[in-house]
Symmetry: C2
Subunit: 146 residues, 2 copies
């Protein structure tokens, strides 16, 4: 959950971290790969995956794994929930902080030891809502954008 061994900052690792921190979106590994390749054309997708795992293990970035969607990464490490648009897959941040009393609410309702939870809001983003009112009926195109 927090930093481990002092990470050797290779060129690849530095650039991947920089590019992820540049964006406010929650890009997939191959979106990051595309960005990083502009600066390091010979980097491999495997290195991107390996490095993202490593940075996440060090607590320098976060992994977002929502059900049924591709893995996404987050340059913001401060704890916060996300809301995902069911039409376009876009993921937005909610304000920092955990839902108060959530785990406590369930502790006496299970024989498991509760150690955490995952919570994701679902909805329609402003752009897709706008498309709707304009009758653009684009259907569902999940996770298809940056």
């Amino acid at each position: 959950m927090s930093a481990q061994s002092p990470l050797h900052m290779t060129e690849q690792r530095r650039v991947i971290l920089e590019e992820l921190r540049k964006v406010r979106s929650h890009p997939t590994a191959d979106k990051i790969y595309t960005r990083v390749r502009r600066r390091m054309p010979r980097i491999s997708l495997g290195t991107v995956y390996r490095t993202l795992d490593l940075l996440a293990a060090q607590g320098m970035i976060r992994k977002i794994e929502s059900a049924g969607t591709r893995r996404r990464f987050d340059g913001t490490v401060e704890p916060h929930y996300h809301i995902r648009c069911l039409e376009c897959g876009r993921i937005a941040d909610l304000p920092p902080g955990e839902m108060p009393g959530l785990e406590a609410h369930f502790r006496n309702q299970t024989d498991y030891d509760v150690v955490g939870h995952t919570l994701e809001l679902l909805g329609t983003c402003p752009a897709c809502r706008k498309d709707r009112t304009e009758g653009k009926d684009v259907g569902v195109r999940p996770a298809s954008e940056q």
Copy 2:
């Protein structure tokens, strides 16, 4: 979310539904496939997937998709959350009902239209806790059992 067209109950569909409703666990498609094959040896895995999708679309069963794990199915359609054991992947039911005030709590914190949420508790199941105290240190074997 609720029933649509009146579903033609083929033998395959009936048996798949029966087998899923028999168990209290949350089996993967191939676990259901294994069970169903005892009664219908020639059924194909594709039919199992297709039928489970169909039954879920009709609201007769539920799909559970947790991040980074295989898809699981639930014969109980009454709304309820789950808690997943981080060591063995087992999924248990929490009592029926939604966390009160959850979506309301976030409505004024986002410009998305909130239409739902996913919530999964994480923890250690009684069996894995027991293994621990017995020093059986089995490591992590996610989603490897029924």
